[in-house]
């Protein structure tokens, strides 16, 4: 076990972790930050997406020790209830989620995506979210929500 200091959502946490442990397991099992979801645990679904130094990464493929000294932002760090990020707001409004299990990952993929691509077309968004598995929605309303969020962010 290794003692590491992590900066999560702007707050410092000290935890004992196994060097092979993933940040997804550390967050969920040791820190009780369960907003980040574990769906496949092997890089194929995007549910565990979070930001590390502003870059989206898959929590299930990232060793916790690798995150030391970096800024980790999880879904819990995006907003608290009322001040939803436009991506979140439009996902709710457009019905861009059903069971909601893929949703934190979608949010954490779409937010940095829109930062890099402020004016995406529908096809661009499809491409940008092409690592996020959603079994419920058929993606249409997710994509529309992200498009609406882009428009809101641009005004």
């Amino acid at each position: 076990m290794e003692k590491v200091q992590l900066n999560i959502n702007g707050f410092t946490r000290i935890v004992l972790v196994d060097p092979h442990e993933t940040i997804l397991d550390t967050l969920r099992n040791r820190l009780f930050l369960t907003g980040t979801k574990k769906c496949c645990d092997e890089g194929t679904c995007g549910s565990c997406t979070m930001l590390i130094d502003s870059k989206p990464v898959l929590g299930c493929l990232t060793p916790t020790v690798r995150c030391v000294g970096k800024e980790i932002v999880t879904i819990e760090g995006i907003s608290s209830g009322d001040d939803l990020h436009p991506v979140q707001k439009h996902l709710v409004k457009n019905g861009g989620m059903q069971c909601g299990f893929c949703t934190p990952g979608v949010v954490m993929t779409a937010i940095p995506y829109l930062e890099e691509n402020p004016n995406p077309s529908v096809n661009d968004i499809k491409e940008g979210l092409s690592g996020n598995l959603c079994r419920c929605t058929g993606y249409k309303k997710i994509i529309e929500a992200v498009k609406d969020a882009a428009e809101e962010l641009n005004t």
């Binding site: 092997e42 194929t44 679904c45 709710v92 019905g95 997710i142």
Partner: protein, 758 residues
């Protein structure tokens, strides 16, 4: 409608879901909680000779161990086929079947503990191919001892009406074709998870990712021999089901048992591979089907013989067997109809109910054959369908009662929107359009367990704070049933949605609802919720009428006001609440739903009965690359008759999700096996479409306003999957002139056929 009914309404739990606050089963933890480690069989069919627990027992991290003989009572979703055990007793029947379990202090300790359990097996002949299961085998080779004639056939379902074979012989146009469908699985995103807590008062609480808290409640009681009044089952937020969480599961029994044994909370969460192994997905199917037509394209008869590969256990299989035939009674009028379905046991993970239960594969077959017949006769496939639709308010040959029916409007809508008349058969080689229709139940009229209770009960409570709380056993699995409950209460009482909250899916506090399966929730729970809130309104009106000297029947509830048209009464909701509660306090009204008595009195007449049926028609446009066989589904026009869309946002979502799932089964998803073992138990190799693979969708909601549905509503969660697959198959024919009889339609199969043809 003046309230939220019929308006696009975001989910009430939407904010929790987008912020990561929604709690799914695995997100809970409890003090002193243990974790389950499972020992699974590496054999497809073997006798258990010996289980050595000694090493695991000595492991300091392991708190308890369990094996099958400790809780040997069998269970299953259907009371007619309870053939499963919590853990294998005497023998294992598929690779991955649970043989033993440990509860340990950490997940890792549980895995290590499980690895220390040593099981000795004696392999028995394996039945992997369903064809083998149709043959007589040795007594000790039988997968289950209860099957008849020494064969591994679980169920033969057969019904024949009006000698279809004779009519087929005489039909001027006739097609007999063979189809083959790979097994597919739900692949919901949230893996199975269960937490069991043995409480100090000797009661058991089970939190589980289930679509059927009620049936889990019953089966836990049976297996654990614990009376039902000491068991509470709760369903928290649930990450998708599609039928895959609609059985009681072995791991739920095991987790509960380990909690009883250790008197500690115990959690079990599956890996993605375990989810695949658990399966319960759509049955791999082979199907011979004959359909005849007269010279005008009127269907004369249909006859089909089906083999479905059930895997090792029963699950919903008896129902599936019937649905493969009886759900061919719509949307076309077919008066001479016959089918036989044989469900085999094989040594593979069991199959069960999956979105569109039992009807997806036969729907593909019949729609493809109708397309062929249209070509044989020389009429447009849409026209042929138009000629054959059932009317409204009629009975089918097997006495399914059709009430509202919007199928004509569905087909006219997509035909128009896709510019079918100008484009079908006229697109350049490699591009094509295809049409197909669909038909599905809005809830089964017969409950799984026959008794005199209603199929659902909803309680609505009015309290001094003006809030309505809806208590319902209904399981929101992402389809938005919690939101519908709130919409209905708000509609009936003329209050904003934020005055209504739900308390759901908890067998201790909520009245029984049978569960989220067979597309029953909006129809049945909706009716019950409407009744409960109507009764609240009537109670309030009665009290207000008395106090304010107006006639109760003149009182209206709207926009948070209670008033009469003539203005003699005009009070705020809160004032009305105060009047209604004077001298009695908070009160609860109850609503329920019981299906009308339906159907004939022949054996098997109960299958497919529903208080109402949904209809649909879809057109797909595809591009096929004849050099590589690759197919790209570019656009789907979908029209679905859901009676009345109580929440159009949710209805569209169901249709779009169905398109996605149907597309997967049509072109890329299949469960592959090697030596009885699934070889693509992950999302790399079980190929679900992602955003970039999903077509453009044009969704139309058709409202036929059913007389019995709440506000006219019928189902929308499963019916829309049926037309997806055959519309794609038929579009491929229009594109390159080949008929795809085997699913999934992968490029290699297309290329073979294209080359055969050229």
């Amino acid at each position: 409608m003046s309230g939220p009914i019929g308006k696009p309404t975001p989910y009430i739990d939407g904010v929790d879901k987008v912020t990561g606050q929604a709690m799914y089963t695995d997100d809970f933890r409890f003090p002193n909680m243990l974790y389950v480690g499972l020992v699974r069989s590496p054999h497809a069919h073997a006798r258990i000779k010996h289980i050595d627990l000694s090493a695991a027992g000595k492991d300091p991290g392991v708190a308890a161990i369990a094996v099958g003989t400790e809780i040997p009572i069998s269970f299953g979703i259907l009371p007619i086929s309870p053939d499963e055990n919590a853990m294998a007793v005497e023998k294992v029947r598929y690779v991955g079947e649970i043989v033993a379990a440990v509860a340990a202090e950490t997940v890792e300790a549980a895995q290590k503990g499980a690895e220390k359990i040593i099981v000795e097996y004696e392999p028995i002949r394996e039945f992997i191919d369903p064809e083998d299961s149709l043959e007589i085998c040795g007594k000790d080779e039988q997968i289950h001892s209860h099957t008849k004639e020494g064969k591994n056939i679980h169920k033969t379902a057969e019904l024949r009406f009006n000698e279809p074979e004779k009519a087929l012989e005489k039909s001027p146009f006739k097609r007999t074709e063979s189809f083959k469908f790979a097994g597919v699985t739900h692949a919901f995103t949230e893996p199975h998870a269960t937490i069991a807590i043995w409480n100090g008062d000797e009661t058991l609480t089970v939190i589980s990712a289930t679509q059927v808290p009620h049936y889990l409640h019953r089966n836990l009681s049976k297996v654990l021999e614990l009376p039902m009044h000491r068991i509470q089952v709760k369903k928290p937020a649930l990450g998708g089901g599609f039928g895959g969480k609609s059985d009681p599961f072995a791991h739920e029994m095991i987790t509960a048992y380990l909690s009883m044994k250790t008197k500690r909370p115990v959690k079990c969460t599956f890996t993605r591979e375990e989810v695949f192994i658990t399966n319960h997905g759509r049955h791999p199917t082979t199907m011979d089907m004959s359909v005849g037509c007269d010279n005008d394209g009127i269907i004369t008869a249909l006859d089909t013989d089906v083999i479905i590969d059930g895997g090792a256990y029963g699950s919903f299989g008896v129902v599936t067997s019937y649905y493969n035939g009886v759900l061919l009674q719509g949307p076309y009028k077919i008066d001479k109809l016959g089918f036989r379905t044989r469900r085999t046991y094989t040594n593979k993970p069991q199959c069960g109910a999956m979105r569109g239960h039992g009807a997806v594969n036969p729907r593909y077959a019949v729609e493809v054959i109708l397309d062929m017949l249209a070509h044989d006769i020389g009429i447009d496939p849409c026209d042929l369908r138009m000629k054959n639709f059932l009317s409204e308010n009629t009975l089918t040959v097997g006495q399914l009662r059709i009430t509202s029916n919007g199928v004509r409007e569905c087909l006219e809508t997509v035909r128009e929107k896709s510019d079918w008349n100008n484009r079908y058969g006229k697109l350049p080689y490699g591009r094509g359009l295809g049409v197909a229709c669909g038909f599905f139940i809005s809830g089964s009229a017969l409950p799984i367990i026959w008794n005199r209770y209603p199929q659902t009960v909803v309680h609505a409570k009015l309290d001094f704070d003006g809030r309505i709380v809806m208590f319902s056993g209904a399981s929101d699995i992402g389809q938005g049933s919690d939101t519908i409950l709130v919409q209905i209460a708000a509609e009936e009482l003329g209050i904003p949605m934020d005055f209504v909250q739900v308390e759901v899916a908890d067998t201790k506090t909520t009245p029984v609802d049978l569960g989220s399966y067979s597309s029953r929730v909006t129809f049945m729970v909706g009716n019950a919720a409407k009744m409960a809130t109507e009764r609240i309104r009537n109670e309030m009106a009665k009290a207000i009428a008395k106090e304010k000297s107006v006639s109760a029947k003149d009182i209206l509830f709207r926009d948070k006001k209670i008033f009469t048209k003539d203005g003699t009464l005009d009070i705020a909701w809160e004032d009305g609440v105060e009047i209604a509660m004077a001298g009695r306090g908070a009160f609860v009204e109850s609503g329920y739903y019981i299906s009308p008595k339906l159907g004939g009195d022949f054996k098997g007449s109960g299958a497919g009965l529903s208080p109402a049926y949904s209809f649909g028609a879809f057109i797909s446009e595809v591009a096929v690359n004849p050099d590589t066989g690759e197919v790209n589904v570019e656009k789907i026009w979908a029209a679905h008759d859901c009676g009345k869309a109580l929440n159009p946002l949710a209805v569209e979502g169901q249709i779009e999700g169905s398109i996605h799932m149907g597309l997967g089964q049509a072109v890329s998803e299949d469960m592959r096996f090697v030596q009885g073992q699934i070889m693509n138990a992950n999302f790399f190799d079980y190929r679900i479409p992602y955003s970039v693979d999903t077509p453009e969708m044009d969704v139309s909601i058709i409202e036929s306003n059913d007389g019995e549905g709440p506000y006219g509503a019928k189902e929308a969660g499963e019916g829309p999957i049926h037309p997806v697959l055959p519309s794609i198959g038929n579009a491929i024919h229009d594109a390159v002139g080949i008929r795809m009889m085997e699913l999934p339609i992968t490029p290699d199969k297309i290329l073979n056929k294209v080359r055969e043809k050229n």
